[in-house]
Subunit: 454 residues, 2 copies
């Protein structure tokens, strides 16, 4: 390998901005998924957009791939430097560029995490509500179009972003939008770069909409006999028009897992978890209406969190589900991320349960039921290739069924390496347009190559 | 001119699907703007996606431009067939393809208008809330990324669309999305085609999110001494977190105009109009809080509409503003459509007023103040080129100032012919990417040529 480009980068950047240490290479070889790790040749830590431009230009000249790296919390191998080259880590680009509480806007660098961001703005009565569980970077969340528990109320990442600064493969620096709340000017590049997983350009600045923190919040939970009933109840709540803030489904199996992991003492039944937020009287009215609907549908164990501590506990338990499965020696998990029109959800959840039972593997179902989105968490023994295949088979069957039900193979985790094989089935003739776009913006295929399209 | 393509189209379609009558040519030569009319050579009325594909293929072969035509209510000349050729009128493609109240979704053909759509779904307790005043087609609203009075609550057209069927310039038919509420799969083509004004592809099917009709609605209005105070009050209401459904500003000048036009008897002062909607107790709480805030800021004439009739009257008056200006023999109007971060609004409104006063022309300011978006309506004598220039000068100064304030030259009306000259100033280096996208998707430049980019 001709390593002149490494010398060039080392000359261009400060010494501590380039690393070839084995620990850094290892750290940047994987994300939180079970995809096969690949090490980069070099890890770079840009400190400014100018650094990113310089790195991109040197990489372009030497035809070296660049894979941006956020917090590495992705679940589809998106930040794995599949073809080696440079892993571009944004942890030093984590500053607030401009905070405009008066406009409910903030401009940040991509490496800031969502908890860092909220820590800064919460004291101003503002929040950035998108919550993928992990403490992901805002850049990674934009690149994956992440969402999570609050999407049912606030939408997904793409709905929050009004402007991006992008560095293109050739080093061109551009803004995709303005700071106005809406615009009908030009083509919508903001939405295009959002969710493009670092394959079309590198994000160096992000302007986000902020939201006020609600005056009052109520968390509640209930249980049902079957996952099917949970899905039907969730559907009913949505149709009632209650502006629910969170509505999560966790099956009995996963509840028992997380109880053992964190000693939560939750009733070990198929459960729905709710959050209502807004002005006090409205929120109380909403929670009461939800309770009535739940009771009408034979829900049980309706429980309103007594205080903010219990409320926090509920969401902590929800967020620990994934870890609860992984927390078994020699075991790892893989998981689906299907999303369908809400009326198709009961059918698809039943199908997921069937597949898990058939496989003989341990697995749970949980998800953002208000969006029609759920995950399977299938545990398998990493030393047993047959188990791995069985787990993968569940994912595959579920993805194709979701597509058949007019849904998507990935509601929020993104394509990365794991969902590439479903792109043709899901997007048909549109795939050719997407590939042409990639070719147009990255003709040498150096930006996160090997992802999204086969 | 070689007219073989016309014969081919006449052979391919039914006789009544092609027209060269002078009345049809005239109808399709202009929209509601003051841009110079251009007649098409032929008007086609497709009845199916297959018809659209056939028309596109014949046009492609003969290198004939195609300009889609919705209701012709655009304000920037978007549907004017600037280079002649075919005007593609969608009035016969106005069917509902699939109504899924259980999923809060509907799939329609592009020619259905928003009133037709609401007429069909309101009886199911559902609404499609985006309201640009005019009874535009859904296809035209998607193509322009229209919005209007309710965007402050529901967002813009782009936020409502989850899937489009597109016919590309080469006749390829594709879907940009699925029927799932959210997805992180592939590139976001739905958002890209939305707002592309028929320049990237032709929309033949649209899947929209629907919303429940609120249990209770309150309309109210108040007045202030200056537009500046109105803007500040609007800003305060937004920061308070009240989930306002509509919040409109109309200056005193425009109020007097509409009073004379429709005999509304509104107080002839700078005014804000509000709508609150939701559950009864919540809405009442919100309206009271808004009133308190208004009073604290020295607002006057707080008035809550006594009944649904008075409520309808208020919004009718608001929607008639444009017509009130035009309703003068020999006069036409032109108008800006700037949108800026909400904190910059008072400054920009003051500037607009200055420009109008300086020009000596008659003009008002009104707009969707909750989004930071407002319009100027400048009346001028069509026979006086100097007046026309003065009016255009106001638009121009205002657009550049909005861009300087980190806003946009068009919040909702689109680019068309009128806002082309601001694209470089607003989008900078991104314009080259947009132009490449156009070239990639429409290499022969036959889809609505002469729009968006110079
Ligand atoms: C326990 C757990 C729960 C989770 N729950 C959810 C959930 O509910 N919803 C959800 O959506 N996700 C969830 N995730 C997945 C993950 O948190 C998200 O995908 C998140 O967006 C990843 O962000 P990251 O900063 O870790 O990015 P990484 O994983 O480091 O990278 C993700 C992608 O972004 C690209 N990227 C990063 N920075 C940039 C940049 N500056 N410019 C261009 N591209 C860039 C990378 O190249 C890569 O393609 C969960 C993960 C875990 C571990
Ligand atoms: C009194 C008045 C008030 C208005 N207020 C507002 C407002 O508040 N907010 C707002 O956003 N707008 C407003 N408008 C502008 C107008 O209503 C919108 O721009 C609307 O989107 C135009 O829709 P249309 O069906 O009339 O489309 P047209 O004007 O016919 O066409 C608009 C564009 O859409 C393209 N198009 C149409 N159909 C298709 C298709 N099937 N495929 C691809 N491209 C297509 C056309 O080629 C053209 O580029 C107002 C207009 C008037 C007259």
């Amino acid at each position: 390998m001709n390593n002149e480009w490494i010398c060039q980068l080392q000359n261009k950047l400060n010494e501590d901005q380039c690393s070839m240490s084995s620990s850094e290479k290892y750290r940047h070889s994987h994300d939180e998924s079970d995809h096969v790790p690949v090490e980069p040749d070099l890890v770079c830590f840009p400190e400014s957009t100018e650094d990113v431009v310089a790195i991109v230009q040197i990489a372009q000249q030497a035809a070296i791939p660049i894979t941006p790296f956020g917090a590495g919390s992705g679940l589809e191998g998106q930040s794995i430097p599949f073809k080696g080259g440079i892993s571009l880590n944004f942890e030093r680009m984590n500053k607030v560029i401009k905070f405009s509480p008066e406009d409910l806007l903030i401009t940040v660098q991509p490496g800031i995490t969502r908890l860092q961001l909220n820590h800064l703005i919460n004291r101003h009565g503002l929040q950035f509500p998108i919550d993928p569980g992990a403490d992901a970077t805002i850049g990674g969340m934009v690149a994956n179009n992440a969402s999570g528990t609050t999407a049912v109320r606030y939408g997904v990442m793409r709905d929050q972003v009004i402007d991006l600064e992008i560095v293109l493969a050739d080093g061109t620096r551009l803004h995709t939008g303005t700071k106005a709340k809406k615009s009908s000017s030009g083509y919508h590049l903001t939405g295009l770069f959002t969710g493009s997983e670092g394959t079309l350009g590198i994000i160096t600045e992000i302007t986000l909409k902020l939201h006020g923190i609600s005056e009052h919040t109520i968390a509640a939970s209930c249980t049902f006999e079957t996952p099917h009933q949970c899905a039907e109840a969730a559907h009913m709540i949505l149709l009632s028009g209650i502006p629910i803030q969170r509505m999560e489904f966790v099956d009995a199996y996963s509840i028992s897992k997380v109880n053992r992991y964190g000693n939560y003492g939750l009733p070990e039944k198929h459960s729905l978890f709710f959050e209502f937020a807004g002005m006090k009287s409205a929120v109380e009215e909403e929670a009461n209406l939800a309770k009535e609907l739940i009771m009408d549908m034979n829900g049980e164990n309706w429980r309103v969190a007594a205080d903010s501590e219990e409320r926090a506990m509920i969401w902590k338990a929800r967020h620990e589900m994934a870890y609860a499965y992984r927390h078994q020696a020699g075991m790892t998990i893989t998981g689906g991320d299907v999303c369908v029109p809400i009326s198709k959800l009961p059918e698809l959840i039943d199908y997921a349960r069937e597949l898990i039972v058939e496989s003989g593997l341990e697995g749970g179902i949980l998800g953002h039921i208000g969006d029609g989105n759920f995950h399977t968490a299938i545990a398998y023994d990493t030393t047993d290739p047959k188990q791995r295949l069985s787990a993968e088979y569940i994912n595959e069957k579920l993805a194709y069924r979701a597509i058949k039900l007019e849904g998507t193979c990935t509601g929020e985790h993104g394509v990365g390496l794991g969902k590439m094989k479903y792109q043709d089935a899901e997007h048909g003739a549109a795939v050719a347009v997407m590939k042409n776009m990639k070719k147009m913006l990255d003709p040498s295929n150096l930006l996160n190559p090997g992802k999204i399209f086969t």
